[in-house]
């Protein structure tokens, strides 16, 4: 840490720098760190030196790599780049996290380790998972960048997953998922649209089979049970096969409990129901068809909510999975995906642009969470931590192992169409249901048909965030 302090202490002649680095108030997370402008940079740095209580990520931050001496001069023999890469931080209000993080990404791409250090130090100072959106972004992205720099992405990711599993239970999962649905239409949007399409596709069928690959823990199905039970004709038989990726013990336990609840609820609703859950470790595209136990006399629907993006982007695995779907000959395939292009490239420009897109996406997500949930809320913290893990996966883990690489509606549509599916538009009633759903939430949510691809978008403040679509072979 001392090295870093010395690094930045040279810039006393830059007023802007002073203002930007006098973040002594960063400890009080809610305040804007830049209100206190001190000319005596040294003094405020001394304050920092005693303060070890940083946010979770870079406790162990050590400059593992020696800073390469820049060509520019220094006054005390340290290696700070004296020019003003920090000038752009002069207006560090608003979206400072985006700026600093982007700079950091660029510095990484340029292999400018000194600068990287510098910036990371700033992020470390200012970031906190309990602060405002910029502070949260700074905290989680810093953690991911650091792991990337130290080639410890997978290991750290594993640690984070394990840590979250310790507190994972049916109760906690239910609480988080249901609370999220209560305050935000993020997941309900897809549920309502897909259920509507599924009901339409299943009209007149008496034996139904739904293959559910989603990350919403079966919260989509109770309303479908109701729709099935209140169908005008005789109640059909329903079989639900849920595919959960990742075979962790905690998830298995949770799904077991969920399964029993689903069965009970279906009994209550008077729907003949059978539930089966498959825990699939490894890539989803390696799914074994025979495990799914598809029967010929049943009408099949495949429901994918936030599932497709977990397939690796390499080797055409995504197209392969879609071809598997086609082989199963479903009546309908319903897809819900988040609208973002999160393929973070390996190096150079690809890395930076992918990183920027990640930044943009997670900022939108955090903002939506922030405005939907009450001020201090444990469920939101859980969701943010999950997002932090996703960030780690995207930034620090290799593409072949990444499970968070979301893609745009346009590209998914192309993939589906080239796999032999045709778009099946949501009928008027379903769209009305979705609009009515959005009306029940706070301001800021809207929906619209996709202009250049199939399906509908959920908009958060006029930014498309979630895409829902239906496809028929």
């Amino acid at each position: 840490m001392d090295t870093l302090f010395r690094l930045v202490s040279l810039q006393s002649d830059h007023q802007s720098f002073n203002s930007s680095t006098t973040s002594s108030s960063s400890r009080s997370s809610k305040q804007n760190p830049y209100h206190q402008i001190q000319n005596d940079v040294e003094e405020c740095f001394n304050l920092f030196m005693d303060d070890d209580d940083f946010s979770s990520s870079s406790r162990h931050y050590n400059p593992n790599y020696t800073p390469t001496p820049p060509t520019t001069t220094t006054t005390t023999g340290s290696t700070t780049p004296p020019h003003a890469p920090l000038d752009e931080f002069s207006c560090l209000t608003g979206n400072w996290a985006t700026e600093i993080l982007t700079e950091t990404a660029k510095a990484i791409a340029n292999r400018n380790s000194a600068r990287v250090q510098q910036l990371m130090w700033m992020l470390n100072e200012m970031g906190s998972p309990y602060g405002d959106i910029d502070q949260k972004l700074a905290s989680y992205f810093l953690q991911a960048l650091f792991s990337r720099m130290t080639d410890s992405g997978e290991r750290t990711y594993r640690t984070l997953i394990d840590a979250s599993e310790k507190t994972c239970s049916f109760e906690s999962t239910r609480k988080t998922v249901l609370k999220f649905q209560e305050v935000s239409p993020w997941t309900m949007f897809g549920h309502v649209a897909c259920n509507g399409a599924i009901m339409e596709a299943f009209e007149g069928e008496s034996k139904l089979h739904i293959i559910d690959i989603s990350n919403t823990y079966c919260t989509q199905w109770p309303t479908l049970f109701e729709a099935i039970a209140t169908r005008a004709d005789e109640t059909p038989h329903l079989r639900l096969t849920t595919v959960m990726s990742g075979g962790t013990a905690a998830v298995q336990k949770v799904m077991k409990e969920i399964g029993s609840r689903m069965e009970k609820f279906a009994r209550l609703m008077g729907v003949p129901f059978k539930f089966n859950v498959i825990h699939h470790a490894g890539d989803l595209s390696e799914l074994n068809l025979s495990e799914l136990d598809i029967k010929d006399d049943e009408a099949l629907a495949i429901n994918c909510v936030g599932a497709l993006h977990s397939v690796t982007t390499l080797s055409n695995r995504r197209e392969y999975l879609l071809s598997i779907f086609k082989k199963m000959n479903p009546r309908i395939v319903t897809i819900v995906e988040e609208e973002a292009d999160l393929d973070v490239g390996h190096d150079g420009f690809e890395f930076v642009s992918g990183f920027q897109e990640c930044l943009r996406w997670f900022r939108v997500y955090f903002e939506a969470l922030d405005e939907s949930f009450p001020r201090t809320n444990n469920e939101r913290l859980m969701l943010e931590r999950a997002a932090g893990r996703a960030i780690m996966d995207l930034v620090a883990c290799p593409p072949e192992k990444s499970v968070e690489r979301r893609d745009t509606a346009l590209r998914w549509s192309h993939r589906l169409q080239s796999s032999g599916f045709n778009p099946f538009s949501f009928n008027e009633e379903v769209c009305d249901d979705v609009r009515a759903l959005l009306r029940r939430y706070k301001e800021g949510w809207s929906m619209a048909q996709c202009s250049d691809s199939a399906g509908i978008f959920l908009f958060w403040k006029d930014m498309p965030v979630v895409w829902a679509s239906a496809w028929k072979p």
């Binding site: 249901l178 009633e429 009306r439």
Partner: protein, 452 residues
């Protein structure tokens, strides 16, 4: 009503009961049959969909009927005339739906109400122009839409856990994952199991009395009932170890509909309190693990319509007056139970039976429908225990009681009882009693007297 396009199709074949009922959620209630003598009118779609065809020339306001327009014209000081109903008998009219694919197209399914056929046509075959703001439900008939708007969003859904929802979808989703559901369905399953096997269970419960040792005999009356649920639990759970002291809640009349299933069994146990854990084997249900707890949720059942409708038989049960029955006698009764022989037990029960003032006591034994007719049967059952009434007995109740008789005699021999219990009493299977005498012979009214 303009009748430009009226076509009289002739008579219908059946009676009609009037208006078309709005489509029920699950199954449609078919309108009744129209009057065979009625004149069948087929109106054109245009006519059916038309509203407010009578316009006021002054202000342009539209009215559905000429009568209404005339009354409105009074307000403008315009000459108005109300048409009187024609004096001659007008033939009753029924209307068919012009839509060929509709079931009401055929004269035999015509609707008797003009407004009804108009609404039907709009609802079924019309465009849904009216839309609810809050929930996006659509309606073709304005009055439907208005009625819905009044209640939309005002209805509150209450989960059994106490949480209240204003949105049905969040209520449904919550409900599916709610902990209250887990307990309820356990109880429902138990109730449905009970209703299916109530008769069998009754017999199986005989003798499966809680282990009332001498110490417990002196306990207050409620303790008897306390132990009964445990027996239930035993049977249901195939657990040979009877559990004690599950609590009084069983006997708190929370919901008559709910309690009824428990009554028959428990009453039998009261009659024949004897410890026999082996009875359990006879139960061939798959009991829910929380069977015991089911009894405590009587309140919950009553709050949930679906549960009541689906799984709880709707036979009426008399109020629980049995407790009072026993309160007067239980002291002496229980004290001697443990050491009673089978015959003694029977005699004791006979005394109780004879002394009973509430016919529902024995009437509840294994009987689903406790109509008043059965009260007479009960007296016959009483006769089984000591009186010599000669009433007509319903097969059902007789079977129950005969089986009980058979069971009674089996008390001393638990092994025997097991065999006995393994047989289904329903459907007239003969249960052999201890003496090897067939139930039928015992149950014959004349022989009962002789036997007693």
């Amino acid at each position: 009503m303009t009748e430009d396009q009226v076509i009289s199709i002739g008579s219908t074949q059946n009676q009609t009961n009037g208006s078309n009922l709005p489509l029920a959620k699950k199954k449609r209630n078919l309108p009744g049959n129209p009057d065979p003598e009625a004149e069948v009118i087929a109106l054109s779609p245009k006519t059916l969909m038309a509203t407010n065809r009578f316009l006021c020339e002054i202000c342009g306001k539209g009215f559905q009927r000429d009568q209404n327009l005339q009354l409105h014209r009074r307000g403008h000081n315009l000459p108005w005339k109300l048409k009187q109903r024609t004096s001659k008998e007008v033939r009753k009219r029924v209307y068919v739906c012009p839509e060929k694919t509709c079931v009401h197209n055929h004269p035999s399914r015509a609707l008797g109400d003009l407004t009804g056929i108009k609404k039907h046509f709009c609802r079924k075959h019309g465009e849904k122009k009216w839309k609810c703001d809050k929930c996006s439900k659509r309606y073709a008939v304005q009055s439907d839409w208005k009625a819905h708007s009044k209640t939309c969003g005002t209805r509150e859904y209450k989960c059994d856990c106490g949480t209240i929802f204003s949105r049905r979808d969040s209520f449904i989703t919550h409900r599916a994952f709610c902990d209250a559901l887990a307990e309820e369905t356990a109880r429902i399953t138990a109730a449905s199991h009970m209703s299916n096997h109530a008769a069998a269970i009754n017999y199986h419960f005989i003798g499966a009395a809680p282990p009332l040792g001498p110490t417990s005999m002196n306990q207050h009356f409620p303790s008897i009932f306390k132990s009964i649920p445990t027996t239930n639990n035993n049977v249901e759970n195939m657990d040979p170890t009877p559990m004690r002291s599950q609590g009084l809640s069983l006997w708190i009349p929370q919901d008559p509909n709910h309690i009824q299933d428990s009554m028959p069994k428990n009453l039998q146990e009261i009659g024949y309190i004897h410890h026999d854990p082996i009875i359990n084997n006879s139960c061939n249900n798959n009991p829910p693990p929380n069977y015991q707890s089911n009894w405590d949720f009587g309140n919950k059942i009553s709050s949930n319509h679906e549960l009541i409708n689906n799984s709880i038989p709707s036979s009426n049960l008399k109020e629980i007056s049995v407790p009072s029955l026993f309160s007067t006698q239980h002291q002496s009764y229980v004290q001697s139970t443990a050491s009673m022989s089978a015959t003694a037990l029977l005699q004791k029960a006979a005394q109780i039976g004879a002394n009973t003032t509430d016919p529902s006591f024995l009437g509840n034994f294994g009987m689903k429908s406790s109509s008043h007719d059965e009260m007479s049967n009960i007296s016959v059952q009483n006769g089984l225990y000591g009186t010599s009434d000669d009433h007509h007995v319903e097969n059902n109740s007789m079977n129950d009681l005969c089986a009980m008789n058979g069971q009674i005699q089996m008390y001393p021999s638990s092994k025997r009882r097991r065999t006995q219990n393994d047989q289904e009493i329903n459907g007239g299977e003969i249960t052999r009693d201890f003496l090897g005498v067939g139930i039928q012979s015992i149950c014959h009214p004349s022989s009962i007297n002789g036997w007693i």
